[in-house]
């Protein structure tokens, strides 16, 4: 049995004992509710039937086996689960899968592949923008979106002139990446990778 399978079996046995207890307390157990979902993930149409409680993150990882997107805190605090929805970065752990009917999702797997890297992926490798790598897919998805947000003129907390156009300065990129935590502390190399890409695009 794989490690993933073992963890899954463990969780299932916990659930089996936990459910009757809470059911006895409230009198009537609420049955899980299933819903159909059709969306596009990394350019491919996918249809799923999911428990309404399934987050976008869990649908990607558990239902579609796209395990590049990582679960860190599962509460929107760490950014490891960052993906792009119709080009906009969000925390996939704080969004229900059923709320993404018809959406176009891009995960780290869709951004680029080992033989066809996205410029940001290549820059992270070149500048050593990671150590353990766990936060990296979220960092890269966020970094790609940050450069887009700056280009679109969206202001940040450190933008000096609200009516001017923000630039891809160190301060701007650091502030805008504050929703992605790196426990290894690769921040300065992440910044170099982003600067590299920003300069090439500009």
């Amino acid at each position: 049995m794989s490690r993933r399978g073992l963890l899954g079996a463990g969780a299932a046995s916990v659930a089996a004992t936990a459910v009757p207890v809470s059911a006895a307390q409230v009198g009537k157990p609420a049955a899980p509710s299933l819903a159909k979902l059709a969306f596009e993930v990394n350019g491919k149409k996918r249809t799923l039937q999911v428990d309404t409680r399934t987050t976008l993150l869990d649908a990607l990882r558990e239902n579609l086996q796209l395990t590049g997107t990582k679960k860190g805190c599962d509460h929107g605090q760490c950014g490891a689960c960052t993906v792009l929805v119709d080009g906009v970065r969000i925390n996939s752990c704080l969004s229900l899968a059923v709320m993404h009917e018809g959406d176009k999702i891009t995960t780290i797997e869709g951004l680029g592949q080992p033989d066809n890297l996205h410029p940001m992926q290549a820059a992270f490798i070149k500048h050593d923008g990671y150590q353990c790598g766990y936060c990296t897919p979220g960092q890269i998805c966020s970094a790609v979106a940050v450069l887009g947000e700056i280009k679109a003129g969206i202001p940040s907390h450190v933008t000096a002139d609200l009516n001017g156009r923000p630039t891809a300065s160190n301060d701007e990129m650091r502030e805008r990446m504050s929703g992605n935590i790196c426990r290894c502390g690769a921040y300065s190399n992440i910044l170099e990778a982003m600067t590299d890409v920003a300069e090439k695009v500009a």
């Binding site: 509710s33 929107g76 940050v146 907390h157 009516n163 805008r176 929703g179």
Partner: protein, 316 residues
């Protein structure tokens, strides 16, 4: 998360009617606060009503020169709107001072107004909390209260309203527009929208069951220099210890609202009249009724200093 059924609606009336029909239901828009709370079983709705298709995602000019912000306009889009940046800078500044880029992309105007407190005891389901479980007691009083309220609190609850956006909306005299399950609409001045805890801290706002926010309107621009100063434990992505939204006119008069210190954005028009006399005079009046704890007594002087910084920034 507890199991729940899920429904999409396409008109505000349909949404309000669905809420009236289904007991223990909740509206969901961005979901960034609600889903977090559902994972912790602090919120456990039996039914979710997805309001994202209501087409309330536009910012429109109003005949009186003001602005109508749809309930579903995201924080990112509101802060980036050219009219908001030009005429209501304090609102843009407040929004980008909160949360992270990912959260602002999802969080909506209405949802942000309704976000719940970040009191650590509200979040810890093993602890008594009158807001989460009415009648169980307040663990924060006598507990760890550094982050919590110094004014407007009660013997039942000392939690704060945690957001930034509403503090700017308070200074701008915004109005919240809603529709009730019976189809009637009403307008609520932002000053009356969040309520003080008294002995019913479980109700954060004056909204009734099933009442849906459809828009927030801003009166016509008032000019002046717009400033939002926020003091927090990290430079980014943290809730305020104290924040000050200020609109200061060239003669030194103006308006201020303070965040991070009370169950609602805190503004006192009489205290504000002392703005030309400086931060100390204003703060003395504004916080005359403050009842800080030992842990958060520092917030009283921090308000004065943050206000002084805001006024200095406004002067340029």
């Amino acid at each position: 998360m507890k199991p729940f059924t899920y429904q999409r609606v396409s008109t505000p009336a349909e949404a309000a009617a669905a809420a009236a029909r289904m007991a223990n239901s909740k509206f969901i828009a961005g979901g960034t606060n609600l889903l977090d709370l559902m994972k912790l079983q602090i919120e456990a709705p039996a039914h979710l009503i997805d309001v994202n298709a209501l087409k309330l995602d536009k910012i429109e000019d109003m005949p009186d020169g003001g602005l109508r912000i749809g309930a579903l306009v995201t924080n990112t889009n509101l802060a980036a709107d050219t009219r908001v940046r030009r005429d209501y800078g304090v609102l843009s500044r407040a929004i980008v001072a909160g949360a992270s880029g990912q959260l602002r992309n999802k969080a909506t105007t209405a949802g942000n107004l309704l976000q719940r407190t970040r009191c650590p005891y509200f979040y810890d389901t093993n602890q008594p909390c009158n807001k989460r479980q009415p009648g169980t007691g307040c663990s924060a009083i006598g507990g760890y209260s550094r982050q919590l309220g110094v004014i407007g609190t009660s013997d039942s609850c000392i939690a704060t309203y945690p957001g930034d956006m509403a503090v700017a909306m308070r200074v701008l005299d915004a109005t919240v527009h809603t529709v009730k399950p019976d189809g009637l609409t009403r307008t609520i001045p932002i000053a009356d929208f969040h309520r003080l805890p008294g002995d019913t801290p479980q109700a954060d706002t004056v909204l009734q069951t099933g009442e849906l926010i459809t828009a927030v309107t801003l009166p016509k621009p008032i000019g002046g220099t717009h400033v939002y100063q926020k003091v927090r434990d990290r430079a980014s992505y943290a809730f305020a210890l104290v924040s000050v939204a200020a609109v200061v006119q060239s003669d030194g008069s103006g308006r201020i609202a303070v965040g991070g210190i009370a169950p609602k954005p805190w503004r006192n028009e009489a205290a504000e009249a002392d703005l030309p006399r400086g931060a100390k005079a204003v703060t003395t009046k504004l916080l005359a009724d403050a009842r800080p704890t030992e842990d958060n007594a520092f917030k009283v002087s921090l308000v004065e200093r943050t206000l002084a910084a805001a006024l200095a920034e406004a002067k340029g």
